[in-house]
């Protein structure tokens, strides 16, 4: 099962490290990363494989959210299907 992690906020040192540490600890594999500046805002999208994740989805979601708060960013994880269903036929 795949999920999309989105990071929105001000660019700073350690964003990818912060997120990928949590993912490594939880046995989540990163499949793809894109990052860009959209309207002056740093945005990063990660496609991850959560099928072997060793914690519950909501725990992972909470850890990422807390990391976001720590770094002054908004970090969110959502099942990939929500984007696919809206944008792919």
């Amino acid at each position: 099962m795949r999920a999309v992690i989105t990071v929105i906020g001000k660019d700073r040192v350690g964003i990818i490290a912060g997120v990928s540490n949590i993912l490594a600890d939880s046995n989540v594999n990163i499949l793809d990363i894109t990052q860009t500046i959209l309207q002056d805002v740093f945005t990063m999208i990660m496609l991850v494989d959560i099928s072997k994740c060793n914690i519950h989805f909501h725990e992972l979601s909470e850890k990422l959210e807390n990391k976001g708060i720590e770094l002054g960013l908004k970090i969110q994880i959502q099942h990939e299907d929500i984007f696919n269903s809206m944008h792919r036929i």
């Binding site: 989105t6 793809d32 959209l38 999208i45 909501h58 979601s61 299907d81 929500i82 809206m86 944008h87």
Partner: protein, 452 residues
């Protein structure tokens, strides 16, 4: 991989434009709960609802968390209670309302619909008892919603029922005078009621429905408005196209959630209802969509045309996005639940007469309309008759959810709280309709009902 634009478009719709799934509604058949002893029957009703819907709320919450899309309401609709209660020897049907209320509280849903009766052609004994008990049932329960179908294109309009519903609405208002006649906000009078509507207060589980089913209602007026902001000044072809594309995306969310809920609960997926349902929150208003099309205030000349375009484009976009579309599927125009409609009434732009015209071209009808407390039962019945006529002749669903708030006058505002919002008291025509309503009988079905 998905592009950043696509990912952030979805996130923006949810976070900034109030895109949400308005309701996951579980329809439950209670046809096996009849019993001559009313207490046994009520126990069966309670047991069945709590058994089937045990995991409804938690499943909804899990989907919400995993997909990152808010699911505002989890609700239940049941077989019209008049059909179940009819076998009971006792006539005190409020016991069923209380059993439904307890069951709803046990499973944690925020409304349960189906304290209902279908009398478009005539009454059975059970229908009579149920309708008489509605005011008491709604004033003594918190979560129960009631609906009565008084007309259909095939049967015509049951004017005896229309007259009685005028009195029932008044009684319900009196019994809940302290809370601004809140009971009336939980009571809908229908023409051509649909059997798979997931939205309250009018949801019930129709007799052609399966044992248990999941229906989903989407929302997203804010998303449509934001999309239209980007095509300012463009012609109506562009407007319609923009609404269609947006409705498609919104409905895809509904389809996904419906399928997922159905899979997790192991209950068949019924329909996605394409209605654009507003909330009192800023940025979630159907009136503001109409204003975005170029009307200074919702309710001015041109409003009906704008709404017709909106309603049609929503359906055209949505129907491609879902495998099964049903329910009411159109734009809702409840006054108290829509910040733009409230403003329009207060500023004098929107009248009851204009709302009636608008109901000819959108789903449902006169919804969440507060009128002065001294409005007579006959006038309320006549308002219901007018709406029913629009539904019957145009072969569409229409409904009336009207609130004659005791002691309130034009210019007052009645607070209901939550999704029900707050309603400004609207002016009604002061000339009498009593003689018309007191005739009774049935208005025959229109010629075009004879299609066979």
């Amino acid at each position: 991989m998905l592009g950043p634009f696509e990912v952030f478009e979805t996130i923006k719709m949810i976070q900034k434009e109030n895109l949400d799934i308005r309701t996951i509604t579980m329809g439950i058949s209670l046809r096996d709960c009849s019993h001559p002893d009313i207490d046994i029957s009520c126990r069966k009703v309670y047991d069945k609802i709590t058994r089937y819907a045990e995991k409804l709320v938690i499943t909804g919450e899990n989907i919400e968390r995993e997909y990152g899309i808010p699911i505002i309401n989890k609700r239940i609709s049941v077989t019209p209670i008049a059909l179940i209660a009819e076998s009971c020897e006792s006539a005190d049907y409020t016991k069923f309302a209380k059993a439904m209320d307890r069951a709803a509280q046990t499973v944690g849903v925020n409304f349960i619909g189906g304290y209902s009766s279908l009398v478009h052609k005539g009454y059975t004994t059970g229908d009579k008892r149920l309708i008489t008990s509605i005011p008491e049932a709604l004033s003594e329960t918190k979560l129960v919603c009631s609906s009565v179908n008084v007309a259909s294109t095939k049967a015509g309009i049951n004017m005896d029922a229309v007259a009685e519903m005028g009195r029932v609405v008044k009684n319900a208002a009196q019994l809940t005078a302290d809370s601004g006649a809140l009971a009336c906000a939980k009571l809908v009078v229908f023409a051509n009621a649909v059997e798979d509507n997931p939205f309250m207060a009018g949801a019930f589980h129709g007799i052609g429905e399966p044992e248990c089913v999941i229906n989903v209602g989407v929302s997203g007026p804010g998303v449509v408005k934001c999309a239209l902001e980007k095509v300012k000044g463009e012609d109506f072809g562009v407007v319609a196209e923009t609404i269609k594309k947006t409705a498609f995306k919104i409905t895809r969310m509904g389809q996904l959630v419906a399928q997922e809920a159905s899979r997790r609960l192991n209950v068949p997926f019924g329909i996605v209802d394409l209605s654009l349902a507003p909330t009192p929150a800023i940025g979630d208003s159907v009136a503001h969509i109409l204003e975005e099309m170029g009307l200074e205030k919702c309710g001015t000349h041109g409003t009906t045309a704008a709404l017709a375009l909106l309603n049609d484009a929503v359906k055209k976009g949505g129907v491609m996005a879902s495998s099964y579309v049903g329910g009411l599927s159109g734009a809702f125009i409840p006054v108290s639940e829509d910040a733009g409609m409230i403003d329009a009434v207060i500023s004098g732009a929107l009248s009851l007469e204009k709302l009636e015209a608008m109901t000819c071209v959108c789903s449902v009808g006169l919804d969440m309309i507060v009128v002065p407390g001294d409005t007579s039962a006959e006038t309320i019945a006549a308002i219901i008759a007018d709406e029913a006529a629009i539904g019957v002749v145009n072969q569409k669903t229409t409904a009336v959810r009207i609130i004659p708030a005791p002691g309130r006058k034009i210019g007052d505002r009645v607070e209901f709280g939550g999704l029900l919002g707050s309603g400004p008291v609207m002016k009604v025509n002061s000339f009498s309709s009593s003689e018309f309503i007191n005739r009774g009988g049935r208005i025959p079905a229109p010629l075009h009902s004879l299609k066979n």
